[in-house]
């Protein structure tokens, strides 16, 4: 580990922020997309799910978790695009901390996700969603969502490093959607056929969604899921973080 991990990571984070400043439209679009999904499910499709209480109280936490999961795509796309740019050669030929490129990416993506959460929570509140879990529960839920996003982020980086080319990202994108929807984000497993319900229960995303619902004090929350929503992302991180850093260091082998 280089002594400059923090400085270099900050420089790389600034690079991403400078990109935002030059592409404000892109940033806005990425924030608006989950809002659109929420409105779509809330108004067009919503209502008929087998959930007690207002569907919006079930849906909003689910959408928050789903948005965190879909963040994986954005990360993957950004990393593959970066890897195929010449500038990576310059970074790799300089005495900077190797992992700074990845850490900078993850810092910027986390910031974007945090902003995305704030926007989505705001829209949720406007739609009539009322979290009941108190301030501690609220913060805990946001923490779990960001932890889940952080795990997805490193999964995304590793997938991008393995895939290598932007074309391959499409293949993964197609897979992310069923994984995202094969969860309890939008509908409760009770309303699904048995085998599907089982798959959905085991999806790490469902763990986060259930735990978050519990902390927000809404329908669909079950006690005892918080630990799973902490452990699952940590397991993913323990596997994918070192893999990604190693893979990045080994580029050009």
């Amino acid at each position: 580990m280089s002594a400059y991990v923090l400085t270099d990571s900050w420089t790389m984070t600034r690079r991403e922020l400078a990109h935002w400043a030059r592409q404000p439209v892109q940033v806005v679009v990425s924030l608006v997309f989950p809002v659109m999904l929420l409105l779509m499910f809330g108004y067009l499709i919503g209502g008929g799910r087998a959930v007690e209480g207002a569907y919006v109280d079930y849906l909003v936490p689910g959408m928050l978790a789903l948005t965190m999961a879909f963040g994986l795509e954005g990360t993957m796309l950004a990393v593959t695009q970066d890897l195929n740019k010449g500038v990576i050669d310059r970074f790799r030929s300089m005495p900077m901390a190797d992992e700074a490129v990845l850490v900078g990416r993850s810092a910027a993506d986390m910031l974007q996700s945090a902003i995305g959460l704030v926007v989505l929570i705001g829209v949720g509140l406007a739609l009539g969603w009322r979290p009941q879990g108190g301030g501690g529960g609220f913060l805990g839920a946001v923490g779990l969502l960001l932890l889940f996003r952080f795990a997805m982020l490193w999964v995304g980086i590793q997938l991008a490093l393995v895939a290598g080319r932007p074309e391959m990202v499409q293949a993964v994108q197609i897979l992310v959607w069923p994984v995202g929807f094969l969860s309890n984000a939008l509908a409760t497993p009770a309303a699904m056929p048995g085998w599907l319900g089982a798959v959905v229960q085991w999806n790490p995303m469902s763990q986060t969604a259930t735990a978050v619902r519990e902390l927000f004090g809404g329908p669909g929350g079950e006690p005892g899921h918080v630990w799973a929503a902490v452990v699952w992302p940590l397991v993913l991180l323990a596997v994918f973080f070192p893999l990604a850093v190693r893979r990045f260091r080994g580029l050009g082998r």
């Binding site: 280089s2 400059y4 400085t7 270099d8 420089t11 600034r14 690079r15 400078a18 990109h19 030059r22 592409q23 740019k85 010449g86 500038v87 990576i88 050669d89 310059r90 970074f91 790799r92 030929s93 300089m94 005495p95 900077m96 700074a100 050009g252 082998r253």
Partner: protein, 321 residues
Amino acid sequence: MADMAISVEGAHKTYGGKKAKDVKKALDGLDLRVVRGTVHGVLGPNGAGKTTLVRVLATLLRPDSGRVEVAGYDVVTEARAVRFRIGLLGQHAALDEELGGRQNLEMFARLHHLGARHARVRADELLERFDLGDTGRKPVRAYSGGMRRRLDLAASLVTDPEILFLDEPTTGLDPRGRAEVWSAVRSLVGGGTTVLLTTQYLEEADQLAGRISVVDRGRVIADGTPDELKSRTGGDRIDVVLRDAGQLGAAVALLPVPESGVSVDVDRRLLSAPVTDRMTALSGVVRALEEAGIDAEDVALRRPTLDEVFLHLTGAGEVAA
């Protein structure tokens, strides 16, 4: 060894592909030594392995085998130490295309740990020096090829590297851009920098490089000073320019070499052939032309150009294969 900036022994690099037909030997036992403070030209046709060599030297690519040292450090086991001492101008721009020129230079200076204020000062200096001062916030994406190349060169000089790699630095530049890069290289060498430069322009190697290695199929097939290379292949040549292009055919037969050894340039009404004995050849050709009644505008002896050396060397490689 201490005076060697670069030392490569038996470097091999094969590009992947699981099937045998996809395997490509880019470096095939390449040897190279570059003395500190000199400009070394690496000359080779497309696909010779020049870029692969530069990427191995710049720690971007691991050689499969062989020993590669830059500034006395092993590029594989001591990559970090190497990275502190090198600058790289790759064949393709290594810049953040979305950002502006100043943003790029400041970012690279920060990543070289110059500190925020120092990085700004350094970026300004380089922008000034490479005539990029008034590009404003324009992203690099919108730069002309020449501006981009100059910025890329500036980026590779952020810390005044000990050793600078330039991979085809002037490909795609107009004559003015080329002259600018050349003068930048000359001034660097004046300051003690070692430069390894790949090129397909023989004139460039001739102008800048003290020594040249000719690379083909991943090996060095000849090296030496430009003069040594010129005299090693074919020795002197005789050029004959006629007044009437119609007489070229008749004149070819008068030269003291087999017809296959004579190159004919109809547009310039020029015949050119290698000679062994300078004076005998000169007087012999003049006399023979006179006797045959062929009017010559010019008859001259000269050394071969690097182009001829290059074609001779790489062409010979093709015949052998």
